[in-house]
Amino acid sequence: MLRFLVRRFLGAVVTLFIISAVTFMLFYAVPRDPARIACGKVCTPETLELIRHNMGIADPMPTQLWNWLTGIFLGRDYPGFGNCDAPCLGYSFVNREPVLGTILDRFPTTFSLFLGSSVVFLIFGIGTGMVAALKQGKATDKLASSASLIASSMQIYFVGTLALYVLVYQWQILDQPGYTPFTDNPAQWFSGLLLPWLILALIFTANYTRMTRSQMVEQLNEDYVRTARAKGLSRQNVFFRFAWRGAMGPIVTIFGIDMGVLLGGGMITEKTFSIQGIGLLAVKSAGNNDLPMLLGVMVITASFVVICNILVDACYALIDPRIRLA
């Protein structure tokens, strides 16, 4: 297991390097000049050149990439703008501060959103799916299946806005969505994020319901489940100890993929409920031509996804003894 984690971690570093290099090159191809914007109205070619130099965008691309990479470990200095201590993921010329600080400020918000909605959709999605599989072909199953079909065709900006209007403004059952750090006030943290959690989870719940149901149904048809019944084990025992064990693997895998989607899908949720998370930051930076910030967001999100995937693979090996990590 340790060997596996070490190897995968090394692999992750390479993956992240490739991701950042590719992103870097893409941005390089964008014909926009942040120096000209920073230069202002009275701008001589000399000042422009100096600003470019200070921004570090006068060098050829490979040098820029190298400087960016070494910056992560050594920190960088942007004369005329400010200091960027290690680990430096770049400097936002729009905000006039290192990008990492801004991203880290916002990370707990997005992470809270991600965590809460994951808990909601895993509990409800898997629960409903299991009930549907247990009551296969009966009314409960049909109800759960059609409900999940309807829910999965919903869009966050539509349901979210509707729920916001009805539940918060009209009926005033729920608090106005917003982020309060957990450490400041856990109750407020919870009540502020409850509606976004529920809305973001809605779509995923439906997916997990359907997936759990189909996985369970498939597992229940497996030969070894039949053998377990032939040994005299009860239906419930077989359902939870045998079939569920087999269904868990694929669900964990999909959850690993969904983590990435969640960080991105959080963008729409954050926008709908005006929560200042990383998704909203990325949208704003794209609008502002804040390429260093975008790059920083990209690298942080990618790292998160890569780490999650390593954990998922490790979990998979714990679930299924046939998978050997080597």
Binding site: R3, V6, R7, L10, A326
Partner: protein, 348 residues
């Protein structure tokens, strides 16, 4: 078959699949020795049977001959031409002459294509335009394999297992091949259907003069279909001979054990025929036993068997063409009488 160059000539054929592992950088840490130094020939219109238990490398051999797999070492010659490492382009003209029939008639036919499309597929790919058009040819082929030509526009799921295997045979015949590699073509079929397909293949072989490499684990089916039979164990041929010699006078202990393990639908008055029960399982091909690979399960094994791999040769008492790889070959007297005498009592 000895006068001219054989249709297929295989020498030293070897396939080792690498096993990846190691830390921190993955590298090849060992090999699965699936096939290890095979020598055999198949003459024009001849049928060679490859028998052995699972993991003996018989299917891999089939895939090597058809070049679905690239051999690790050795040589495959088709009509005297070396095709061991031939590329796609060089293989193109030969591909139409060597065809394959697979075990699973359900999985090897595209469910979204009609029978006509499936059977004419090889003609399309190889751009063959028979006189009278492809459709006419497909209908002829369906007729040959005993299907109704009117079923041209039907889909595979409308057919039973045996009929699907017939479609597979028709597809293999589409390009008028000279050699067909049939990998367990009847083992997925019901008993009553197996005979239909075996008879069909036999008819095809005899009437169209097609050579066969017939891969199967069922010794009785192989005996019925193949003029020459090679017995494989752990990637090596342990015995190869004409049918009557192999079944009537098995010299390798493994061949004999295999034959004695075949359950037969006969009720013997004298119980307990001379049964040989092999102990244990086939060892792993990753780390096969030294010397003779069968020695770990052989009742005759000695020191010599562990140190010296027996060559595949015509051991004393064998007829020409009967090769056995054993230091201590079986003698004819020890063979169960029932196997030699033609007709002590009716088969059934």
């Amino acid at each position: 078959m000895s006068s001219t160059t054989p249709l297929l000539d295989v020498s030293g054929l070897t396939k080792h699949f690498p096993i990846k592992g190691g830390f921190p950088i993955r590298r090849t840490v060992g090999h699965v020795q699936a096939v290890d130094g095979l020598d055999f020939q198949v003459g024009e219109g001849e049928s060679l049977g490859l028998v052995g238990e699972s993991g003996c490398g018989k299917s891999t051999t089939g895939r090597l001959i058809t070049r679905l797999l690239e051999p690790t070492a050795g040589k495959v010659s088709y009509q005297g031409k070396d095709i061991t490492h031939a590329n796609r382009k060089q293989l193109a003209p030969i591909r139409s002459e060597i065809q394959m029939i697979f075990q699973d008639p359900y999985a090897s036919l595209n469910p979204r294509q009609t029978v006509g499309k499936i059977v004419s597929g090889p003609m399309e790919i190889n751009n063959v335009n028979p006189a009278g058009g492809r459709e006419k040819r497909v209908r002829e082929l369906l007729e040959i394999v005993g299907l109704n030509p009117e079923h041209y526009n039907r889909f595979p799921h409308e057919f039973s297992g045996g009929q699907r295997q017939r479609i597979g045979v028709a597809r293999a015949l589409a390009l008028e091949p000279k050699l067909i590699v049939a990998d367990e073509p009847v083992s997925a079929l019901d008993v009553s259907i197996q005979a239909q397909v075996v008879n069909l293949l036999q008819k095809v072989q005899q009437e169209l003069g097609i050579a066969f490499v017939f891969i199967a684990h069922d010794l009785a089916v192989v005996r019925h279909f193949s003029q020459r039979v090679a017995v494989m164990y752990l990637g090596k041929i342990v015995e190869i001979a004409d049918r009557d010699d192999l079944y009537g006078n098995p010299r390798h202990p493994y061949t004999r054990a295999l034959l004695s393990a075949v359950p037969e639908a006969t009720v013997d008055e004298t119980p307990a025929r001379d049964r040989i029960r092999l102990q244990g399982d086939v060892p792993s091909p990753i780390n096969p036993p030294s010397g003779c690979r069968f020695r770990t399960r052989c009742w005759k094994a000695t020191e010599k068997c562990a140190t010296e791999a027996p060559p595949l040769v015509q051991v004393e008492g064998n007829k020409p063409g009967h090769l056995t790889a054993c230091h201590y070959p079986e003698t004819a007297e020890a063979v169960p009488a029932a196997r030699l005498s033609k007709d002590p009592e009716p088969a059934i």
